[in-house]
Amino acid sequence: MKDNTIRRVLAFFLLISAVLVAVAFVAVRNINRSAASSDWVNHTHAVILEAEALLSGLNAGDGAMRTTVMTGDARDQAACREALGSIAEHLEVTKALTRNETAQSQQVHDLESLVNRRIDFIRQVLAARQSGGQEATRPLLATDAGGETMREIQRAVEKLKDDEMTLLAERDTASFAQAQTTRWTVWLGVALDVLLLGGVAWLLRDDIAARRRVAATLHDANVLLEARVQERTAELAAANSRLSTENLERQWANQALEHQLRYNQLIVNSINDLVFVLTKAMNVSRVNPAVVRLTGFEPADLVSQPLSRFVRLAPGNGETEEPMLDPIQQALKEGRDLRDRPAVMEDKRGRKTAVRFTLFPLRDGDKVVGGVATLQLAPSSPASPR
């Protein structure tokens, strides 16, 4: 977007510069033309002035000639010659001014013939006056009756002036047209540049607006991202805190269970009665130290052995010595307690000791999974504590 805008702005400025150069070029060219037109105006006026001065000089010479004819005064003759002298000068200037204009140059050439002829006539009159007096001039002046030559000269000068005025009008029109062209060119150039500058301004405004939109979108995205990061961070912190707490809880539970287990173990081991933990099949799975101490068996000799190998209930009243069904197994099967029943325990050396037998079924939920048998030595037995 940035590169495109810069390229477009540069293109606009190049176009504006081109328009400015074109306007300047056209304006300078038209100013030059206007200056040339102004020169032509001056030139035309100069030609007209010179033609009028020529005619005026000729009239003055002609007048002085007639005065000299009447008076014969040398001063009038001198004035006549002076006037004739200025005519030649004006004629040369007029010729020089119209040198580059074919039609005018031809007109001046014709005028020169007429003027020279008149000057010659005036000189002839003056020479006749000087040599033969007033009478001698009469035939000459008679040939000029009516002043035809002077009228021809006047017409020629008027024609030259009219042509020059016509040219002047044409050049004025051309000059005005050029001025108008210059004005239109300048105003068009200015208008075009203003339009182009407006285009640049619109382009820049559009670009700035686009940048602002992008910045606003970016800002919104950043705010949203920041909020999400904070939210996620808070979630992670909460999860971490929860995990830490759960971890501490687990460690605490393990520690408490271990402590409790050790404590219960100490309690069981401190009991002086014989404790047998039994499986459901009446096999020994664990004993307390009192069993080892009082029977002489090692734990390895006892574990997995049937309890009946070490303990038997004493037969009750009316019972045979070998009942059909072991009452301990029957009680365990039925989930019943047997409390304080007389029994006989046999130690490693085969000695028999009278004990009091108690059985508690071990339950896991509503199922009997084993039992705990405790043997309390009868007070009269030799191994009972004293």
């Binding site: 501490l248 809880e249 605490w252």
Partner: protein, 121 residues
């Protein structure tokens, strides 16, 4: 101002776990392993709450709690022990000596609830 809790237990793992948990919940915890250290701490920096085990190496926990009650009559005491009493027995026999009786198998969350309850202004 954070509340100061004095915890007395002869088992180091128990002390460390409970101290870590209570500290993470904004309490200042002093953990000691004997009654002797507990009395020293009480004299130096009186606690707002006492949590004690029952069986200590150098003293009986209940005797120590009686002495602490005499020294700090307004400070509540939690008895946190693995020696299992029957709940009714515990209430009947220990209710006058301790503010609360908890087994060591009690969860930390429950212990925290009791701490907050006892320290509520």
């Amino acid at each position: 101002m954070t509340n100061h809790i004095l915890h007395i237990d002869d088992e180091a793992p128990i002390r460390e776990l409970l101290a870590q948990f209570l500290t993470s919940n904004g309490y200042r915890v002093t953990s000691v392993d004997s009654a002797t250290e507990a009395f020293k701490t009480v004299k130096r920096d009186a606690p707002d709450l006492v949590i004690s085990d029952l069986q200590l190496e150098d003293s009986d926990g209940l005797e120590m709690i009686e002495r602490l009650n005499a020294m700090l009559p307004a400070v509540p005491v939690i008895l946190l022990t693995g020696v299992l009493f029957d709940a009714q027995v515990a209430r009947d026999t220990l209710g006058k000596k301790v503010s609360c009786y908890l087994e060591k198998t009690t969860s930390l969350g429950k212990i925290l609830e009791e701490v907050k309850r006892l320290l509520k202004p």
